[in-house]
Amino acid sequence: MAAGGELAAVIGVGMTKFSATRGDVSMPGLVREAAERALKDAGMVWGDIDAVVMGKAPDFFEGVMMPEIFLGEALGAVGKPMLRVHTAGSVGGSTALVAASLVHSGVHDRVLTVAWEKQSESNAMWALSLKQPFQVSINAGAGGYFSPIIRQYMEATQAPELIGCMVAFKDRQHALLNPYAHLHQPDLTFDQVVESPMLWEPIRYSETCPSSDGAAAMVIVNETEAEKSDNPAWIHAGAMRSEANNFPGRDEVNPQASRECAADLWNQAGISNPREEIDAVEMYVPFSWYEPMWLESLGFCERGDGWKLVESGATHINGGDLPVNCSGGVLSSNPIGASGMIRFAEAALQVRGMAGEHQVEGARKAMGHAYGGGAQYFAMWVVGKDKPTT
């Protein structure tokens, strides 16, 4: 079968409400909330879980070294294997894939996977802008890093200037359909997005993700366990790739690792026409322009056509044939370490028919996508309502 080895499926999904500050809970309390919801969804208790796989962004973000150790009790990991995964912003996706690999390999039958960030107790901007001796520091965080890459995309494709604003406005509209989303801005207008301050030119304030506290969790099980569930999300494919963030000749707009990760993914899933065959996409878009950029890189359209999909409304839940980020996406909730796992979990909810108001009618195959670092780590999966066939 596609992903290799034993079949695996998601039978439990849990998330916290995402917000700027979760002052009511400790870090253990935060991960606990998501994990308990995932267990409840799976109809399981702590003792049913064989192993725990946890992910979060760099330790510098909260200043907690090796959080996997002090979160053991909160995640029911006492006496069990506990692993921590670390691939910057893509970590939530990589963590889910590592958890799935423990099931695909037959090592474990029931794995709990959790990813989280408590941005209110940290400062990502600081952590991402640490001055290193002998290196130029632009002290600009992620937005400053990505803005010239976005300009390069705009110039290469001659995309209209307001495509990014369309993505941002669309995702904030989608967020209104998701009770867990951080940003709920029912009165936001497209003009307000356009008129918001230019933060890292050409990226406006409203085209950036918020800073959120939150956690996401999933229970991933083998075929025998999945068949006891009413609505498992079968894992059809999973792929990860990485590359250096800086080398001469690098294609920063469309990194090789992204293209090759997607090609591997579609090949595993037996998908030849992603746009036709995928019903919902949860894509890692922390800055609006990354939606058209990834649409191209992932093969949903030809190079240079990503912005046309956005402009045509193809990625909107209302009327679009390829709805992207129906949950509101990273642009509406960004607990960094969890953001990748939220994408993967939302894809699972879609094919399980459990996405509530942001459900894509009849979704049978969905893609979850995450990237991290200087667009250098990639993690992707395809989940389906039906069991994968060889």
Partner: protein
């Protein structure tokens, strides 16, 4: 080029992180400010001090906080003759595991006596609070032998 000629530079990183305590550790810390010690009861009735949010063995939620006595027994100890600069204590003292009355797990704190001859495993000690408390483990100045005029 000789290795000692290669450039090197210091790298100092500092950031004032914050921490949210949550309902259990938060209550324990608030208790210290009020000069009250709070432990937490497990399903089997045993009491953990300091309290934890989740059972260390079963991972169950723990919620029932109980007040602990302010005297107890030294279960083991070590003598610190010359406290280092970063120590909260300036003079010689013991660091001891102390099983307080009403708790089932010992916790670590200082026993403030003048010399090691005054220490023994099994001795009874009582808490000595600082005059000003703020919600910190150092609101406890240390422990002194029981009956030595603690007020």
């Amino acid at each position: 080029m000789n290795p000692e000629d290669r450039l090197s530079a210091p790298l100092v990183l500092e950031y004032p992180f914050t921490r949210t305590t949550g309902p259990v550790i938060g209550a324990f810390m608030t208790g210290l400010r009020e000069k009250v010690l709070l432990g937490i009861k497990r399903k089997d009735g045993s009491v953990l001090l300091p309290p934890t949010e989740y059972d260390p063995e079963t991972s169950e939620d723990l919620t029932e906080m109980v007040e602990i006595g302010q005297s107890g027994e030294v279960t083991t100890w070590t003598w610190v003759q010359e406290p280092r600069d970063q120590s909260p204590w300036n003079s010689p003292h013991a660091l001891a595991m102390i099983l307080l009355d009403g708790a089932d797990t010992p916790f670590i704190h200082a026993v403030l006596v003048d010399n090691a001859d005054l220490m023994r495993t099994g001795m009874r000690v009582s808490i000595k609070w600082k005059e000003e408390t703020e919600g910190h483990i150092q609101d406890i100045e240390g422990f002194i032998p029981e009956g030595n005029g603690n007020d």
